[in-house]
């Protein structure tokens, strides 16, 4: 939980007052509530689990029950200032398509993810010879929902291939946020347990191939 809070703190700091925010995979709505309380955002959520949706609805949050892989077409182009994907990208089936969809929906995409390139993870694999299990990656390989784990560098390459620019990355280690970085990735790739990225579309951004329904009246 300490990890999750650190990641929420960083996200809250990245979001401006009164912004329109979509939290994809919003769980029980804790982050949305925090953003509404701290930044008075106009918040919306998407969540797959019934329990999560019910918890959100009971908090008065506007949340649609849906799957990031399938249901992002709920949302029209440019509808949000920020679309947040907190510790979810590693669990979706098509991270590239999801990321492109998020960039379509929001002016900025904020992604937090566990960094598989962290030195301890590398060491665990190198010397243990097994898939790493640690506070950021708590489940064993056969039980984890994390089907698309990546490193900081992998994520940066995916962004580049989609025409997305990393505006800022914030490393998190031991529950504390480090100094933001933009260009130099190697340090974060070795030393960040989790990273929060703020990503924007460039002119050459890849638009999703899916036939996104145009909803604007």
């Amino acid at each position: 939980m300490k990890q999750a809070r650190a990641d929420y703190e960083v996200i809250s700091a990245l979001v401006h007052e009164g912004a329109r925010v979509l939290d994809v995979g919003c769980g029980d709505g804790a982050l949305l509530q925090k953003l509404i309380a701290e930044k008075r955002v106009k918040g919306r959520g998407m969540e797959l689990s019934q329990a999560g949706v019910n918890a959100c609805v009971a908090k008065g949050l506007a949340v649609v029950q849906g799957d990031a892989d399938r249901d992002l077409q709920f949302f029209p182009d440019g509808a949000f200032d920020y679309v947040i994907l907190s510790k979810t990208i590693q669990a979706v089936h098509r991270p590239g398509e999801v990321l492109a969809e998020l960039a379509r929906i929001g002016h900025r995409v904020i992604v937090s993810l566990p960094n598989f390139g962290h030195w301890r993870t590398r060491m665990a694999l190198l010397f243990g010879g097994r898939m790493p299990v640690n506070p950021s990656l708590p489940s064993s390989w056969h039980e984890t929902g994390n089907i698309h784990l990546c490193t900081v560098r992998d994520f940066a390459e995916l962004c580049a291939s989609l025409g997305l620019m990393i505006e800022r990355g914030v490393p998190i280690s031991g529950g504390h946020a480090g100094s933001p970085f933009a260009q130099t990735l190697w340090r974060a790739n070795w030393f960040a347990e989790d990273v929060v990225f703020a990503v924007v579309a460039t002119d050459s951004a890849v638009r999703p191939a899916t036939d996104v329904v145009k909803l604007r009246a």
Partner: protein
């Protein structure tokens, strides 16, 4: 429950009456109902029921819209049939729509046969309307409800909720009267009637009209009833309310009070017997022409069409908060139809939640025990009540 006090709190208006235990209000010639077809209906009588007490500032009113063959007795026995209220898990003391807290209104739909003007009502010439009753739409149903709500002195409903075609009415309310709906809960419904649903309705209508006792719609004058046709219509429709899983669980291929098949056309199977019973009990309480008219109104329902083909326009600048519910095995109003409406709500900037309840009970799931639905609905209602500044409900 305080139905008596609810009666007392009703404003003493001309035209309020009660006949055969059915509470009604009549709007005279000076207040005709303007129909989508361009025609006017007058006089207009609306049969309705209320539960709970209206707050002094009239802020706690909830309008429940009933489904195709429902009635206004959402939380109390129907005085004509003796059947219990039709939404006991949702409306009542301590329920998600808590009658200790909210003033609940439920009106028999326009064209219905439980006190509201319909084809079985008397025309001025002393004969039942029959097919002379004007064809109306879901928008007209809602316009009639709005007249009732206005007569009750309520400027804004705290919530409009309904399932199936009641959900269509809820969506229509938000589109037609956005300032008068604080919260809107469409359940197991869609913003348009599908070709498949029109097809099933047409089967039902043809069954009714093929019954010789229908007498070109004039059966009431002739003292007959197209009971067989109406029963078949009900049987066909009833299948669409269930799911294959529900039918399998309930009946599978079980035989009805026999060891083996009869090599005849008697009801060998339990499912046949069940459907026949559904058909039979329906004809005792429903008017065949009402069935024709109401299904026609629903066929015509396409909210986007009324707004230049763009559904988001229907909800443009709508301040209501929405919570839409769909049930995974509902093939009468599948989740995809509800999602289309939710997409439009989101595209128009509305505050909209969407809950897809995993259920194998088909369309009828919204009337049955579905704890996930009940919990989510209770959560939404409580959060909306808090936002509206209503006092917290009784402890659940």
């Amino acid at each position: 429950m305080s139905r008596a006090s609810a009666s007392q709190s009703a404003p003493p208006l001309r035209g309020w009456s009660s006949s055969g235990g059915v509470r009604t209000i009549t709007f005279g010639e000076d207040q005709p109902l303007h129909l989508s077809s361009g025609e006017k209906l007058s006089p207009l009588t609306i049969g309705y029921e209320t539960y709970g007490e209206l707050a002094p500032d009239k802020s706690n009113a909830v309008l429940v819209c009933h489904a195709l063959t429902g009635d206004q007795y959402v939380a109390s026995p129907n005085p004509v049939t003796g059947r219990p209220g039709w939404w006991p898990r949702i409306v009542g003391p301590g329920k998600p729509i808590d009658t200790n807290r909210f003033f609940v209104i439920c009106a028999n739909v326009l064209g219905g046969c439980m006190g509201t003007s319909g084809p079985a009502s008397m025309h001025a010439d002393g004969r039942p309307y029959g097919l002379r009753f004007p064809v109306f739409t879901v928008a007209d149903m809602v316009r009639a409800q709005a007249m009732l709500v206005e007569a009750l002195g309520i400027k804004q409903l705290f919530c409009v909720i309904g399932g199936s075609i009641g959900g269509m009415q809820a969506l229509q309310w938000a589109a037609a009267y956005p300032q008068r709906v604080f919260a809107c809960v469409p359940v197991a419904t869609a913003a348009r009637h599908s070709a498949q649903n029109i097809a099933f309705y047409e089967v039902g209508r043809q069954a009714i009209m093929a019954d010789p006792e229908w007498r070109e719609g004039d059966y009431l004058f002739h003292g007959t009833r197209p009971a067989k046709g109406l029963a078949v219509a009900r049987m066909a429709a009833h299948i669409t309310y269930l799911s294959e899983a529900a039918l399998h669980r309930k009946f599978d291929r079980a035989l009805q009070e026999r060891e083996k098949v009869s090599f005849g056309f008697d009801a060998d199977f339990q499912v046949e017997s069940y459907l026949r019973h559904q058909g039979q009990s329906f004809v005792d309480r429903f008017d065949a022409n009402s069935y024709l008219y109401i299904t026609r109104a629903v066929d015509y329902f396409d909210l986007a069409a009324d707004f230049g083909g763009a559904l988001p326009r229907a909800f443009h600048d709508c301040p209501s908060r929405f919570c839409a519910f769909a049930f995974s095995s509902d093939w009468h109003y599948p989740p995809e139809g509800m999602k289309q409406a939710v997409r439009a709500l989101i595209a128009s900037g509305c505050e909209a939640s969407y809950v897809e309840v995993d259920s194998d009970k088909g369309h009828d799931a919204f009337l049955l025990e579905e704890p996930a639905f009940e919990h989510a609905l209770a959560g939404f209602i409580d959060a909306a009540a808090l936002a509206r500044g209503l006092t917290p409900g009784a402890a659940r």
